[in-house]
């Protein structure tokens, strides 16, 4: 059987903020775009954040309209729960073989009513809430997910069929299997994003075993209005913390982990969280242990100075070790860099590790674009062409091209869209002019 085929000008891999922006910037110029996202919803890491620096806009207010625009754009084919499995060169362009994983839910009929979710007996630690909250084996991924449809997690299902019984539209379909299709494209933009330093990476910090030592993304969820507890509570016992400490460079600028680079966003997210915390918990003491404060972006230094003026304590010190006292309070051992490296110990209710950004995916073998020593995609001439990879027609944006914040990702996506558009134009003029392209057939997948 011939595979379903989709013809587009540009394929975007990754539906986080960088991928969405690149898709919109290309589609707005009139190019046909396919956006492939491996998760059940687009939105990426950004949609799980609380408020964003330096404007303190609620994160949803920036992300969800872009998600909506991507879903509604007449030039964008949104392909969620899909992964590119193979890539071939094809007459100056590329053909991608894509697999769509079974949702076990008929997407077209699902209204996102969540009846199935309520009926499902299986509670699982929610990835979206970084394990602190729960979700069900069949679920709409999160409240603002796009598309608003349920997905059944077959790996954590007992096949009891309760969801099927309650679904008012008969959407549950256990007979679904993976589907495959091809995307013919001229250009590709990689926006494969990042993961953060794993919890167990730092043995000195308890290797993820301490309940009250969390990472920055967990704090984002605690601060988010849709967060798991509805308040900022420590995960160990639900206590409202009085004393919160941030450990900067927890996974960045750390030769022992082989990660020597600066992750670029951690200073600002820690300061932002500290400011939000002092709003949510006005009586709490907040300390940030840092080596260098790197608030380099537009308005960032002013943001930092505001945080200092608010009474957030900044301590230049390297946290050498974290232990737990008998009440499960984390105890930090700090080398005080401003006091001749004197060692002190301080106890806090909650410690937040400002974990760094690691490449989310190595596209090397599949896309033929090499990763550099730092694991991010190589950009051969970063000064003049910051989104161009070593392979013609393949561009990179967002954290796939190295750690960067949301503002810089959005701008780089504009650049990638510009480069991809110029590449598409040059390609189209190479293709025989007489060959009428005709209207592109967009298969429904």
């Amino acid at each position: 059987m011939a595979l379903e085929k989709l013809q587009v000008d540009s394929l975007i891999v990754g539906g986080g903020i960088a991928g969405m922006q690149a898709a919109l910037d290309l589609a707005d110029q009139g190019y046909q775009v396919a956006l492939v996202e491996k998760e059940a919803s687009i939105g990426g890491k950004m949609i799980a954040l609380s408020k964003v620096f330096p404007t303190l806009d609620c994160c949803s207010c920036i992300t969800t309209p872009k998600m909506s625009a991507v879903a509604h754009h007449e030039n964008i084919q949104l392909l969620t729960y899909c992964e590119v499995q193979a890539l071939e060169e094809n007459g100056g362009g590329y053909t991608a073989l894509v697999e769509k994983k079974p949702r076990y839910v008929i997407e077209e009929d699902c209204t996102g009513c969540r009846e199935c979710e309520y009926a499902c007996p299986i509670d699982l630690p929610s990835d979206f809430d970084r394990g602190m909250g729960a979700y069900r084996a069949v679920r709409v991924p999160f409240s603002t997910a796009v598309p608003q449809v349920a997905t059944l997690d077959i790996e954590n299902c007992i096949l009891c069929g309760k969801c099927e019984k309650v679904c008012p539209h008969g959407c549950i379909d256990f007979t679904q299997t993976a589907r495959h299709f091809e995307i013919e494209t001229t250009a590709i933009v990689l926006a494969t994003g990042f993961e953060v330093t794993p919890k167990d990476a730092k043995k000195e910090y308890g290797a993820g075993q301490f309940d009250n030592v969390i990472d920055g993304l967990m704090m984002e969820r605690l601060l988010a209005p849709t967060g798991p507890y509805g308040h900022v509570l420590r995960p160990g016992d639900g206590k409202e913390p009085d004393s919160i400490a941030y450990v900067q460079c927890a996974g960045s600028r750390d030769a022992t982990l082989g990660i020597e680079y600066c992750s670029r966003v951690c200073c600002m997210y820690a300061i932002k969280q500290a400011m939000l915390l002092s709003g949510a918990l006005p009586l709490a003491d907040i300390t940030i242990y840092y080596m260098d404060i790197r608030t380099f972006g537009k308005g960032y230094e002013q943001f930092y100075q505001t945080a200092r003026a608010m009474g957030i304590e900044f301590v230049k010190g390297k946290v050498a070790q974290i232990t737990e006292d008998e009440n499960k309070n984390p105890v930090v051992r700090v080398e005080m860099l401003d006091e001749g490296s004197k060692i002190v110990e301080r106890t806090h209710d909650l410690v937040v590790l400002s974990v760094g950004l690691l490449p989310g995916y190595n596209p090397g073998s599949l896309y033929g674009v090499p990763a550099a020593d730092d694991g991010f995609v190589t950009v051969p001439s970063p000064n003049i062409s910051p989104s161009e990879t070593a392979r013609p027609g393949i561009f990179v944006t967002g954290v796939a091209a190295g750690p960067m914040d949301i503002v810089d990702s959005i701008v780089l996506s504009g650049a990638a869209a510009s480069e991809a558009a110029a590449y598409i134009e040059a390609h189209n003029s190479r293709v025989a002019v007489s060959e009428s392209k005709g209207k592109k057939e967009l298969a429904h997948v």
């Binding site: 964003v52 207010c61 600066c262 002013q302 003049i384 510009s418 110029a422």
Partner: protein, 680 residues
């Protein structure tokens, strides 16, 4: 999500009775943490014509928008109001949603209850809730009087003007040209390439700067869609997106290729060479550097007495004169790539201007370039010890730093200096391993990809780092000895006072906004609180100004390194392509309209209007008689409304912003609050 549905006014057939839906957004807590959104929604639900009043965590989300669409389709809603963040952020989002549901986008009205309510009345939640009700009531009052409008479609000139020929301007021009749009680039100086040409090597990839820049310049010069004007400045602008009329003044180059070298040799006037930041001099007929573009030398008219230059060539007197030309360009969009200025330290700041040993980092970079591999000497002495100081003219704090002449402080981080300085110090250590280098900093900000390697390398090369606190910055003095002395409390060693005698002090000066007030006022764009040019929103519209069709590229917007400037420029080019790609732009329909039943041809409106061909008296036939009536040409009307107040007969209004709508809004603001359930 809560909902209150009422059917006070049954849908009537034929006539358009307003059926208003009001949505009060929680804004993820931003609004609901202060404003009692549920109470607000209940209160406004009592107002006439309101058929639906709901709240939602995030109206701008897909689900929120879907809700609006559903209400329009299922409940016959024909007016929509969302109370949320500032209209500048999401008004267009919601207009899109109502359009998808088949409603005219101008039947949507946005009420800002975040920036102007919840965010400024934290201490008065009751008052904030009352204010939200009154603002929404005003919105509802206006909404009842809204009429469907059609946007104005105009042909757009597929041609962009790029102001500035540095790396950002070049990159933007190239990307725009590659999309099939004409690009005219104007550069104030006689040579393109900007500040990148002054660098020897770049970071994070260590490559000769002029090679990378040269590659870009070659592509720009070769591109058929690009025209370059050097020694050219914008002197006038009018029009609007799609149809800007720019007036450019271009100086004459002054010398032709055939006599250029002879003229240069014959020229006797020498001035400080800004390319080397005054370390050397150059003639007033000059090339910026070997291999510059254009390669023909140019006359620096500003430094020629009376704008004339007299030379003797082959024994004959020759007079060179500047006869500037005026060029008119019609463009659809404008890219502002005017770059940055360097911070000039005050006299005496770290000894600058008093001690000849104190120079700036850009000067030092030029010094190293001029010096090549020769032993490094400065001020007649072999350099053995160098001190570098970070954050000069950056991160200034009120109360610690003295304000500048205009009362401002450079509170921002200049972003590029840490990496540029460490890159340069590594060049020093590579070239002169015996020179001792001290580096005084508060925070090292090697944030970018590959930048931390510069810091690591400097540490490995035995650059001695010293850390000061912002409130006790280092000092540089010459006391008794002949060498300047760097003094600071080093917090890497218990805050003890350290004194280092040095031969050269390098100040990592920050960047500051260019003095381009003339361009800013011609373009009617605005500056942010840091005085760099302001974008609409750093995440929603990061390279656009509030003026449609005018975008920002590079350091005009704020400190950026080369890589970031290129990215911003390409992003700006993408926006230009979106605007001009189709050859048509859409304008908001908010223009003046004349009610010919009320107009009696006084011409008062024509008299006050400052726009060419926007409103005129024309002869029309009314009831068989030929009379004079005011007629508006929408494409030329900016919708300012000056004519509205001038009309003695109240015959003119700006559609979408009518006087009657304002009166209704005021009545709603002062009106009785809807009574809520007795219990409250």
């Amino acid at each position: 999500m809560s909902e209150i549905e009422q059917n006070q006014t049954p849908p009537s057939e034929g006539q358009e009775e307003p059926r208003i839906a009001v949505y009060t957004c929680y804004c993820g807590g931003n609004i609901s943490e202060v404003v009692d959104c549920e109470k607000v929604a209940e209160a406004v639900s009592k107002l006439p014509n309101v058929v639906i009043s709901r709240t939602d965590m995030s109206m701008c989300s897909d689900a929120g928008q879907a809700l609006i669409e559903q209400d329009i389709k299922e409940h016959g809603v024909n007016r929509v109001i969302v109370g949320a963040c500032a209209p500048s952020l999401h008004e267009t989002t919601f207009r899109g949603a109502v359009t998808r549901a088949g409603l005219n986008p101008y039947l949507y009205h946005h009420v800002g209850i975040r920036e102007q309510d919840s965010w400024v009345h934290h201490n008065d939640p009751e008052g904030a809730s009352e204010k939200a009700i009154r603002l929404l009531s005003a919105g509802i009052a206006k909404s009842r009087m809204l009429e469907p409008l059609e946007s104005i479609k105009l042909d757009a000139e597929k041609h962009a003007l790029i102001i500035g020929g540095g790396v950002a301007g070049l990159r933007a021009a190239l990307d725009i040209a590659r999309r099939g749009i004409k690009a005219s680039l104007i550069e104030k100086t006689p040579f393109i390439g900007g500040r990148m040409a002054q660098l020897e090597t770049t970071f994070p990839v260590d490559e000769p700067a002029r090679e990378a820049l040269g590659g870009l310049i070659d592509r720009v010069v070769e591109h058929p869609n690009i025209t370059i004007y050097t020694q050219a400045e914008l002197v006038g602008l009018h029009g609007y997106v799609g149809d800007f009329h720019a007036t450019i003044r271009q100086d004459q180059r002054g010398v032709s290729e055939d006599i250029a070298d002879a003229a240069m040799a014959a020229c006797e006037i020498e001035v400080p060479d800004e390319f080397n930041y005054g370390l050397t001099t150059r003639k007033v007929i000059y090339r910026a550097y070997d291999g510059c573009y254009p390669s023909t030398p140019a006359v620096d008219w500003a430094n020629c007495p009376d704008g004339r230059l007299e030379l003797t060539l082959d024994g004959k007197p020759v007079v060179l004169e500047n006869r500037p030309e005026t060029i008119d360009l019609t463009v659809g969009a404008i890219v502002v790539a005017t770059g940055f200025d360097l911070y000039e330290p005050r006299e005496g700041e770290y000894g600058y201007g008093i001690l000849p040993e104190v120079i700036t980092l850009p000067q030092f970079i030029r010094l190293l370039a001029l010096n090549g591999d020769a032993p490094l000497e400065w001020n007649g002495r072999r350099v053995k010890n160098i001190a570098a100081i970070h954050c000069v003219g950056s991160r200034e704090v009120d109360g610690i730093h003295e304000p500048h002449e205009d009362g401002s402080l450079n509170e921002y981080c200049s972003r590029i200096c840490c990496s540029a300085l460490l890159h340069t110090l590594n060049v020093v250590k590579d070239r002169y391993p015996d020179i001792n280098v001290y580096d005084a900093y508060e925070d090292i900000r090697t944030y970018g990809r590959g930048h931390e390697d510069l810091y690591i390398k400097a540490s490995h090369q035995a650059v001695r780092f010293l850390r000061f606190h912002n409130e006790e910055r280092p000092t540089v003095n010459r006391e008794n000895g002949d060498q300047p002395l760097l003094t600071l409390n080093d917090y890497l060693t218990w805050g003890e006072e350290i004194e280092v005698p040095v031969d050269l002090v390098v100040l990592a000066v920050g960047v500051k906004p260019r003095a381009i007030d003339d361009i800013i006022s011609m373009l009617k764009i605005s500056k942010g609180s840091d005085s760099f040019l302001a974008e609409v929103h750093p995440k929603l519209r990061p390279v656009e100004t509030a003026v449609p069709g005018i975008v920002l590229a590079g350091t005009a917007q704020g400190p950026m390194n080369i890589q970031e400037s290129s990215a911003a420029a390409s992003a700006a080019a993408a926006k230009v392509s979106v605007l001009l790609g189709t050859g048509e732009v859409e304008l908001e329909p908010f223009v003046a309209v004349v009610n010919h039943d009320l107009c009696d041809g006084t011409g008062a409106c024509v008299e006050v209007c400052c726009y060419e061909d926007a409103i005129a008296l024309e002869t029309v036939t009314v009831n068989g008689a030929e009379v004079q009536r005011a007629v508006v040409t929408p494409a030329n009307c900016v919708g300012c409304g000056v004519c509205v107040s001038a009309c003695p007969n109240l015959a003119i209004d700006v559609q979408g912003w009518t006087l009657a709508q304002y009166e209704a809004m005021i009545d709603a603001i002062v009106g009785e609050l809807p009574t809520l359930e007795a219990a409250r």
